[in-house]
């Protein structure tokens, strides 16, 4: 859907250095003057494709755009080996094993009931980027643990859910949050046909699409009782934490992590006042590692004669280059401080934090 664009930024070392220093200020000055936790505006619409079970389209104002279609198919549950696991679970229940509840869920639903494919323009299906993005999205969906259970019909039948993610624009900035939020919206709009047969019979469904049961139901107040996970990209520069980095900002990121979260369902019962629960965290290799390093005047053969006396011995050169290293742009190496990581997680999960804000924003989207 788009010509293969380069993931690499075309900024010079001097521009990178400028960007990096303005992002390391307290508070950081971002190129588009956003606050550090502020998100870029986006346009979203759901239920755009009537032949899918659920669909959504999100467009950021920088022109990146994605469409997600969710399709459900009826599938027979493989019974091979399941009976044995069931028996084990039964034993566990009898023994009063505290993990029994968990195991019973495992026997009910399987991770293979969910399949995600990501299409990125300019990449083949088996290239690493689409597969990595697909894995990140699937991982978060599966580890939230509630989605698989919703696909269970009875002992012999289940829904198989296919989530197809299409990136329409060239992958300008790291497209993970875009794809994840679009998937989130599509899943919220997903409905499955209503079951009209007896629970234990071979399933028979209502032809009336208007009667279909939404995958994520709303309660009496019109709020979702549970929600699919959302994934955010967070980058750090120095001690600054920046949410939703743009392409240029990513080019100077010291480290980038992807945080997936869901709203806590046990919020009222628990003593901790967190609004969100982390379901997946992953370090992402920042594109800044591929940026060209700057060359200080003192060691640049082109400007050497003008700014410095004739070259001295190689030992002096070494000393010189390490002394001026801080003055020019150098691609960042190394990871993230643990305290910083903890701070990010706190900013996402705390009540009134970034996570809650994002989900509230997305809930405001009307179909």
């Amino acid at each position: 859907m788009a010509p293969p664009g380069s993931l690499q930024t075309l900024l010079s070392p001097a521009e990178l250095s400028f960007l990096h220093s303005s992002l390391s200020l307290q508070p950081p000055i971002r190129p588009d003057l956003r606050k550090s936790t502020q998100f870029r505006p986006l346009t979203a619409e759901t239920d755009i494709l009537p032949t899918t079970n659920g669909s959504a389209r999100i467009c950021y104002n920088d022109g990146t755009e994605a469409i997600v279609g969710v399709k459900a198919e009826l599938e027979k549950t493989a019974t091979q080996g399941r009976a044995k696991v069931d028996a084990e679970t039964m034993d566990d229940v009898e023994e009063g094993n505290e993990h029994a509840g968990f195991q019973r869920r495992v026997t009910k639903a399987a991770n293979s009931w969910l399949e995600t494919s990501v299409e990125v323009p300019g990449f083949r299906d088996d290239d690493s980027l689409p597969i990595f993005l697909g894995a990140l999205i699937t991982e978060a969906l599966l580890s939230s643990g509630t989605l698989q259970d919703k696909l269970w019909i009875n002992e012999r039948w289940h829904w198989k859910l296919y989530i197809d993610v299409l990136l329409l624009s060239p992958p300008l900035s790291y497209p993970l949050p875009l794809l994840s939020l679009t998937t989130h919206m599509a899943l919220l709009s997903t409905s499955l046909p209503r079951l009209i047969s007896e629970p234990s019979d071979d399933p028979l469904f209502d032809d009336d699409w208007a009667a279909a049961v939404p995958l994520y139901a709303k309660d009496a107040h019109g709020e979702y009782t549970a929600r699919p996970p959302a994934t955010l990209l967070v980058m750090t520069v120095g001690t600054n934490i920046l949410f939703d980095p743009s392409k240029d900002e990513l080019a100077v990121a010291e480290s980038v992590i992807a945080v997936s979260f869901i709203p806590r369902s046990d919020r009222a019962a628990s003593s901790v006042d967190d609004a969100m629960k982390i379901v997946a965290v992953r370090m992402v290799d920042p594109p800044s590692r591929l940026t060209p390093p700057g060359i200080p005047d003192a060691v640049n053969p082109a400007t050497l004669s003008a700014s410095a006396p004739a070259p001295q011995s190689s030992v002096n050169q070494e000393a010189l280059s390490s002394a001026v290293k801080g003055s020019v742009w150098n691609p960042p190496r190394g990871g993230m401080k643990r305290s910083l990581l903890a701070q990010i997680v706190k900013m996402v999960t705390q009540s009134g934090g970034v996570g809650e804000e994002v989900l509230e924003g997305l809930a405001g989207v009307e179909t």
Partner: protein
């Protein structure tokens, strides 16, 4: 199977010479130079045009005209049953070629030497007539990108089932196995640029069916012209006095 009822109604309630509802919208992909969504009933196609711009692969550069490239792809969720299809399978390669040739026939490539125009077509929903919908979407997107063309190419299909010529086949009628004639015309110049039929049909009936498809193309052309006019008005309004 009965595709036309004794009352003369088709499976989806249309008359034999009735088209599905068509809708065009310009500017669907923000990043592209030109883009459009085109719907024919339940068939929904999105097209994006990039260019004219510098040729990416120098060895493909043509010194006296523009290089036109086209990529057609079908979303996994576009069909009734979800289908996993690899990129560049035979069918999509063939349709890419058909679209490219049709569009190339009307783009004034000689005005843009040593440049490249990329047309991307993505089928979001397939319900018969994807080929026609793709060509119509590509025309809209090319016009949106401001690429000089001789005329607007529009396309429509027609078939022949239950000894009745039918205009604008949907998926059920398309997969009935009867003859399916896809026609692409330059509406104002009244010239045929695309003609495909994958079955046999007596000559006199073929004439009828083709005539019907051509009428369909003209109807599409009118719709596309309205969309373009509306878009131009909007642009002029946005530009101000």
């Amino acid at each position: 199977m009965e595709y036309v009822s004794p009352e003369g109604l088709r499976l989806d309630g249309r008359r034999p010479m009735e088209m599905r509802q068509i809708r065009g919208e310009i500017g669907a992909v923000a990043k592209a130079d030109g883009s459009a969504v085109f719907e024919m009933g339940n068939t929904k196609v999105i097209a994006a045009v990039y260019g004219p711009r510098e040729v990416q692969n120098r060895s493909q550069q043509i010194s006296d005209q523009a290089l036109v490239r086209c990529e057609y792809s079908m979303a996994n969720f576009s069909t009734g049953d979800r289908m996993r299809r690899p990129k560049g399978d035979r069918r999509s390669t063939e349709i890419s070629l058909v679209i490219r040739q049709t569009m190339e026939a009307c783009i004034m490539t000689h005005l843009m030497p040593r440049s490249q125009i990329d047309i991307f077509v993505q089928v979001l929903q397939a319900d018969g007539g994807t080929r026609s919908a793709c060509i119509n979407a590509a025309t809209l997107a090319l016009a949106d990108a401001g690429i000089p063309m001789r005329d607007l190419v529009t396309s429509c299909s027609a078939g022949y089932l239950n000894s009745t010529p039918l205009l604008d086949l949907n998926y059920v009628e398309d997969s009935a196995g009867g003859p399916d004639v896809t026609v692409g015309i330059l509406a104002k110049m009244d010239k045929v640029t695309l003609l495909q039929m994958d079955a046999k049909l007596p000559m006199d009936i073929f004439e009828n069916v083709m005539q019907l498809a051509t009428e369909g193309c003209k109807a599409v052309a009118q719709c596309i012209q309205e969309v373009l006019l509306e878009n131009s008005k909007k642009l002029e309004y946005q530009r101000g006095p």
